[in-house]
């Protein structure tokens, strides 16, 4: 919980510069190296599940792969199959019509696995939270390990948050992944 609060604090500070600067990239690389090798080997695969977004979060998630933000350089990549995934990354509200599919995607993932709620919608339903067509945020469907706030979060915020998740979990013993349950279920 502590690191999550710290992260939240970090992300509500003024946004990072528009283009990733190389000092920051170096720093992230160094941090990641220390963290992931212990725990996860060299790479992590992300399965993205859209659970009822406006597609704004998808745009910025895709932008993490461009030449500026280049998420892949940190060993994080996207995979089409949940069976190959370490991270389930949910965008959008828990739309009633997507609940079952999102659950099935989580069930298809091998453990240890982390669930990330990306964007205000996925955190608690965002502006849509009072709608009857919506069950709430991602944690209405499954336990969530990390939230990345923003509407949508910027690519820098997404990259930094995902690396922080790696760091935090690398401190735990291999066999038992740490779960930070934000609420519910």
């Amino acid at each position: 919980m502590v690191w999550k609060t710290a992260l939240h604090h970090l992300l509500t500070n003024p946004p990072a510069p528009a283009v990733a600067d190389s000092a920051q990239v170096q720093d992230l690389r160094a941090r990641l190296k220390a963290a992931s090798v212990i725990k996860l080997g060299r790479s992590l695969a992300i399965r993205h599940v859209p659970a009822g977004s406006c597609n704004g979060c998808e745009l910025e998630l895709r932008a993490t792969q461009n030449l500026i933000h280049d998420l892949t350089q940190y060993g994080l990549s996207f995979t089409p199959s949940p069976r190959h995934a370490d991270i389930l990354l949910i965008t959008g509200v828990a739309a009633r019509n997507m609940v079952e599919a999102a659950r099935q995607a989580r069930a298809a993932m091998p453990d240890p696995a982390w669930v990330v709620a990306l964007g205000d919608c996925a955190i608690d339903g965002g502006v849509f939270k009072s709608s009857p067509a919506v069950q709430g945020g991602a944690d209405a469907i499954m336990p969530v390990d990390l939230v990345i706030p923003g509407c949508p979060p910027t690519p820098q915020q997404i990259v930094q948050s995902l690396l922080t998740l790696l760091e935090a979990n690398s401190l735990e013993p291999m066999a038992k992944p740490r779960r930070v349950r934000s609420r519910g279920l």
Partner: protein, 455 residues
Amino acid sequence: MILLSPEDWAATQGKFIALWTDADYAYALYQPQQLVAVALQDGTYPALPHPGANWYQRLAHDLNGHTAQGATDTRPAIEHHRGPDFAAPWPDFPAPDVEGVHQIAVGPIHAGIIEPGHFRFSLLGEEVLKLEARLGYAHKGTLALMRGKSPRLAARYAARISGDATVAHSLAFAQAAESALDTTPPARAVYLRAIMAELERLANHTSDIGAIAADAGFAFLDARFALAREYICAAAATAFGHRLMMDIIIPGGVAGDIEPAGTEAIRDALAALESELPSLTRVFEDYASLQDRLIGTGIISPELAAAYHPGGYTGRASGQPHDARIEPGYPPYLDHPIHTPVQTEGDVAARLRIRLEEIPESIHLIRHWLHNLPTDALAYQLPPTTGMGLGVAESFRGPVWHWLHIENGAITTAFIADASALHWPLLEHAATTGIIADFPLINKSINASYSGVDL
């Protein structure tokens, strides 16, 4: 608005855009901006014969329980939970009655980072005989959330109808509210809105063109176009404080001014794109292996397009010149003649060429407006009065229409028609002109919004 008898309603000719219902009437909108209505009788109204009306009639049934009498397509549009106890049974997807036919089910979760939807292909070998799209997975009840709120409060829902077209939707919504409440926004706001709208067009055109090239195996083009999009979004963040420019356009004007550093940032991003565009465009023209994938793929014939008259590059690549910036038109485009490219091949390559051609035009418009920004106010307060208003904006993918009924300053009914509603049935047609391996290209070349129609 013209109130018609049921007979006249069903016999109305014209280029159909959208249909919706409220508690008392069914409304139909035709190009360029003709709104007709018919009184509901026991919750029913006569079905319209236009092929584009099917989706809207299904939607009106799911949203409001109103039935189109005589409709041939009565499948649910977005409502999945129709079984007893709120269950969501899978619908039937009948395959064509051909020997050897088989089906492939894709989605709702797709392979890439895109929105959810289910595609059911019926195939003979690799050849696609039929595609049926099941939508509604991103249904969030947005229209209902808007009701009872002031236009200012409801604007945040309009901005989230489809994130890639947030500026266009906010603009159409603001114009609908302003027309309902008889307010003219200040000139500076009008110009800033148009600058944002053209930046949004550039951001989407560049990233989509790159994504199409990537699907055809040209990752290099994708990298360069994605970089152009990144520069545009970074410039938008510097200028307006948000990379997608969400929530900046509000009814009555704009929520904030352009930052002084933003003008330079935008000019730099435009210059970078402009200098690289010719060499990137040449790759499309020079590489036979790329052309082989794009030319003749996913054809929407001019006849088919004439039946649906879709907007945007999907229409323009199939002989439909419609551009809402020109007709019905809205300021500041009215003072500035724009050229809309039109082609007739109707394939992936034509849609891509249209988008490549639209880029220099947008660059030119943004530069012109940045140079000539008026200096009056940013926004005017809307009066808490009563009225009905229509607003339209040409998003990157086509016109988006917003219709608002406001009573004493609060929205009583709203409807939103994204251009995608007319693109989805065309995608189902276009998919059947090729093999299954071409579908990702065809889908990306049309790029219909899921959230924009799931509402």
